[in-house]
């Protein structure tokens, strides 16, 4: 069947072009971040000076610190609550209401969740700051951690738990010795994904940070820089952020996948 081989070849070439479309824009940014001249769009020689400019900017350093505080706190809270939620949800009867509730944070447009949280905090006269960003980020992080841990729980042989119960192990012993080691790669993968989503999240942080510079996160700083115009520091910033995100996602995938293969 020559026509079929032709179609397959065309599909493979198309896939390569899609990869080029996805990665060339990012590669262009990375190359331009090493550009000497202030003009960020034409090559004038190799330089690392824009990375230095970033490191010396107090606004960037403080934004990085805020981002880490938010991401670490939101990740810790959502990993614990998301894991417990996954364990509970797997034991309850299948319920489409529960599934919808766990799915909603992943698909609700972020601008809607952002204004909803702003309305909620304002109504309660809640002082906005880093803590309100953390409370908000936990919402979507819980959903992602829970989804990843649930997949692992579903793929695992529950008779082991029953065997452990039958042999007289207490609930906590069974959890510590059996369940936790089985789901731990999922928890870790979920935590890494939650951390990545949190350090990159802009709109919800923007709406729940409140006025003032003290709770500006890195994406909020990047947004302000982009609005201000195309500058060479943004390319350097973008390169670092992309590398960190890529590394975290790859690590998360490796942990979760490596462990499902016996």
């Amino acid at each position: 069947m020559p026509d079929r081989a032709g179609v397959h070849l065309a599909a493979r070439v198309h896939l390569r072009l899609v990869y080029a479309f996805l990665y060339i824009p990012i590669l262009v940014l990375m190359v331009l971040s090493l550009n000497r001249a202030g003009l960020p769009t034409a090559w004038t020689g190799f330089s690392l000076k824009w990375y230095g400019v970033l490191a010396e900017s107090p606004a960037i350093v403080s934004a990085v610190r805020n981002t880490l505080v938010v991401a670490v706190s939101a990740t810790v809270i959502s990993s614990i609550l998301g894991t417990l939620l996954a364990m509970g949800a797997e034991r309850l009867n299948r319920s489409s209401t529960l599934d919808a509730l766990l799915f909603a944070p992943m698909i609700i447009p972020d601008i809607v969740l952002a204004i909803a949280l702003l309305s909620f905090f304002t109504l309660l006269n809640f002082t906005l700051g880093l803590h309100s960003i953390i409370l908000s980020h936990v919402v979507f992080n819980i959903a992602f951690v829970c989804a990843i841990v649930r997949t692992r729980l579903r793929n695992f042989d529950h008779s082991i738990i029953e065997a452990s119960d039958d042999l007289g192990a207490g609930r906590f012993t069974t959890f510590r010795r059996i369940t936790l080691p089985v789901i731990f790669p999922g928890v870790l993968a979920g935590a890494l994904l939650a951390f990545t989503l949190s350090i990159d999240e802009f709109i919800i942080a923007f709406f729940t940070a409140g006025p003032g510079e003290s709770s500006t996160t890195l994406p909020m700083r990047i947004y302000a820089m982009i609005r201000f115009g195309v500058t060479p520091e943004i390319n350097a910033m973008a390169t670092i952020v992309m590398f960190v995100s890529f590394a975290l996602v790859l690590l998360s995938q490796r942990i979760d996948r490596g462990s499902t293969q016996p």
Binding site: P25, L84, G88, I107, I108, I111, V112, A116, I203
Partner: protein
Amino acid sequence: MRSRRLHALLLATPGLAWLVIFMIIPCLIVFFYSFFERGTYGGIDYVFTLGNFARALEPIYLTIFLDSARIAGIATVIALLLAYPAAYAITLAPPGRQSRYLLLVMLPFWSNYLIRTYAWIVLLNREGLINRGLGGLGVIDEPISLLYNEFAVIVGLIYNYLPFVILSIYASLQRLNPEIREASEDLGAPAWRTFLRVTLPLTLPGVAAGGVFMFVLSIGNFITPDLLGGGRVHMVGTLVYDQFLSARDWPFGAALSMTLIAIMLLLLFLQAVLVNRAQRDRGTAHA
């Protein structure tokens, strides 16, 4: 058995409580706000009105809804056309390599949305790589405006959501039983007919799921129209943003958000109906 259920509920409660307090209740507040009047100083007057929804239907706002739907629709259709053959190509790879190919597709999707959008400002601006490339080739004499228009917004939306659409179509292609396709070919159907009559209908749920999510995330998008539209392209997402942060008309912004959610739920419902029908058809195909 009862203690087991209680135990499960206990485990789930903290997480569920968090979602109820920080997602359901805030969304309910927005729902109620959408039926109140705007206060004189930008607050809320607790007087019932349907005026916010009536206002959303005024020509100026209706145009923005229709423009958003058109832009999101064009971007979604192009993304689906690009995604289908790409997902198909991944299923042709040896099983052991498919997850690696898929990871390569999804990697940009999990990274920073702002930066992926900014990359297109760098590529499309008057001094950017594309203008320089076209100028260098002699295709154009002077830089053309590629940025701050609908074209840029559509490119940005496709760029950001294409990985997700590929994933969604790949998932349904992978579930497809290859024997059904082979049976069609053994019975003498040409490849294109097998595709149109067998493969495409059976993978339509994946196409619909990817399409619906991309469409909804696109009309509600704020970053892409804001950065690549440069204030000239207004979409529902930017409109909601303006009502909350600059116009300070929260009830109207709330009504716009609720309309957005209503559109989303309607499309998800239609998609669920489609999936159910496809599953029923598949059931009869097996019999």
